[in-house]
Amino acid sequence: VELLLAVEQGAVHANEVVTTSTGVIGLAWLIPVVPLLGFLVVLATTRTLRERTAFIAIGASAIALLLSVLVTVQVVGSPATYVRPMPTWLDVGGFTVTFDLFIDQLTAVMLLVVTGVGFLVHVYSIGYMHGDPRYGRFFAYLNLFLASMLILVLGANLLTLFLGWELVGLSSYLLIGFWFEKAEYASAAKKAFITNRVGDVSFMIAMFLAFATFGTLDFLDLIENAPALASGTAFVLVLLLLGGAAAKSAQIPLYVWLPDAMAGPTPVSALIHAATMVTAGVYLTVRMSPILVQSLDAMVIIAWIGALTAILAALIAVRQDDVKKILAYSTVSQLGYMFIGVGVGAFREGIFHLVTHAFFKGLLFLAAGSVMHAMANRTDLWGMGGLRKVMPITFWTSVAGWLAISGVFPFAGFFSKDQILTEAYNHGFLAIWIVGLLGAVITAFYMSRWFFLIFLGERRFGDEIHPHESPASMTVPLIVLGVLSLTGGLLNPVHSGPLFNFLAPVVGPIEELAFEPAGALPEFALIGIAALAGLLGILLAYLAYVRRDVSQGRMVEPIRGPFAELAERKFFVDELYETVFTRAGGRFAEALVWFDTRVIDGAVNGAGALSMGVGRVGRRVQTGLVRGYVAGLVVGALVLVGVLLVQVR
């Protein structure tokens, strides 16, 4: 009876696997291929079509969006894990990797987020990038990114995922360094790329280990065989995957590239460095959640990395003055919440937060871009203020984004963040719950500071700047994302809402881990506490930045002190890495250069010198005197005879 029960419970979770090449699923391969073609066509036509080439790129992203919607309708209509067979990529001695597509509920959610936000950012870029000398190239890169991200999401095995993983890294590099004339921007691109390589190494070793353990990299086989995994192997495997995910999703200790990535154009920051690419790590961990649940220790590590990242990045964000830098640290912090979700076993809540975060952070970045557009590309918070009246649409949509990230009811962020924290509490992670709440207060505080200093108060800039509302191509995406930030919570308004049930078959069996709640607080109390945390942050920011503005007339940063100073300098993490890795690495390289020039070259040159020396001495034998040679012959013969005689005796 127990066995039957177990089988029944398993049936609730397991998806039926459907292999098909027909219908909507059969067309799914077009989702990444169309933007890829768009990339090539736009590159080819950017000189002849000039700015009109953008519409090709937008068309490609629209087709990808449309197909993604159709695929999602299919998955919602008849839930299953669809596998679309595609040509083989590699077939080497029993190791076969295909380009098969893997489409389940998680893929569908990711497809919608990527193509949805991707399409909006394409549209927004018409206005934002207008007049840029490399306008066409920008859209080509956006298409390339979209194709790469879709390969990442659709791949049916770790290697195809890794292919997309590297391609998004490339697109990210190209777009961060889009204005490469500035050496600073070019080096920011390099920093992002190199930091990600560190994670890639970890990811690759994870793949080697997975292959050594399972003999395959296909998701279906990995998920099926995960329960048989030895706990030690699972621990190492999950940590290696975490290493990859931490680089891509900007977690401690590899988050340092993301704030610098703000060198890229703002639409890029919204699409790649807020809504989609940086969530790839979360996607990877949730996709691998059946393996994650095999090692609770590794999950606890993930949760703590998320928690520490969330609080550290939030603290740094409090003292940044650049409109985009604040959002960048905020993204790092929010990604931390997603990792908390993954770590405490709240996989679906993590994905929910990924979705709502894509809405409100994409929105906030686009709003920041709109503000910069209006302010002649100024980014200093203290040189703004009072933009509420001149930019009404940007203002009202920002309100939605600000309240959503601060976790104010009924905006989207309230539901997703609260559900992660509730799960942390219910699964017994009391310390992480407290850290998360603290982070929520700080999040609300710094986002309110951002919002107040830009839109409220008096204008703090000269008459040479004439702020104006942005064109419709920019405001329409803002409005769409604003509405989504307001209503996104409806996806999963209660703890087992529609999204939660939809994703149930694809996540690892967390109930097997038998978590105990950290205390006796009922759910409504937890929700209330989370809601109060957000409101408290907003209130504190109001007292610090709005009330004082009125009373003092002149704006200065009211929060001072050594700790604030430390946050402003980003806790010297960059300097630490500079010393520990860059300089030490430089020294190590110098030592290697010394070894190469002295020891290796020395050995090679020494061998040459040795034969030269031997030759210089040895050639003396060649006297050219025949009788001398004869004498040598005789001596040699005598020696031989002598040896023979001795031996005979």
Binding site: R619, R620, Q622, T623, G624, L625, V626, R627, V630, A631, V634
Partner: protein, 99 residues
Amino acid sequence: VAIGYYFVLSGLIFCIGLTGVLLRRNAIVLFMCIELMLNSVNLTLAAAARMWAGPDGHVFVFFVIVVAAAEVVIGLALIVNLFFRRGTVDVDVPQLLRY
């Protein structure tokens, strides 16, 4: 005659030849000394063949005679050429193949 005497005699002839090769500079003389050494060996071989009453030694002697004949042809050709080019048969004069 005891066999030992043959060996002693051939040893003596060999040493005479060797001494000539080492000490003399005239190529013709050198050449004759080499012949002396070869034939001393032939004597030894023939004597030994007689001692063991087998054909092996004789076969060796024939080989040596054939090879010596070939060697004489090449050697004399070299000496004649040397004389035409340098006007001398002194073996210490041609020293091109040296360091």
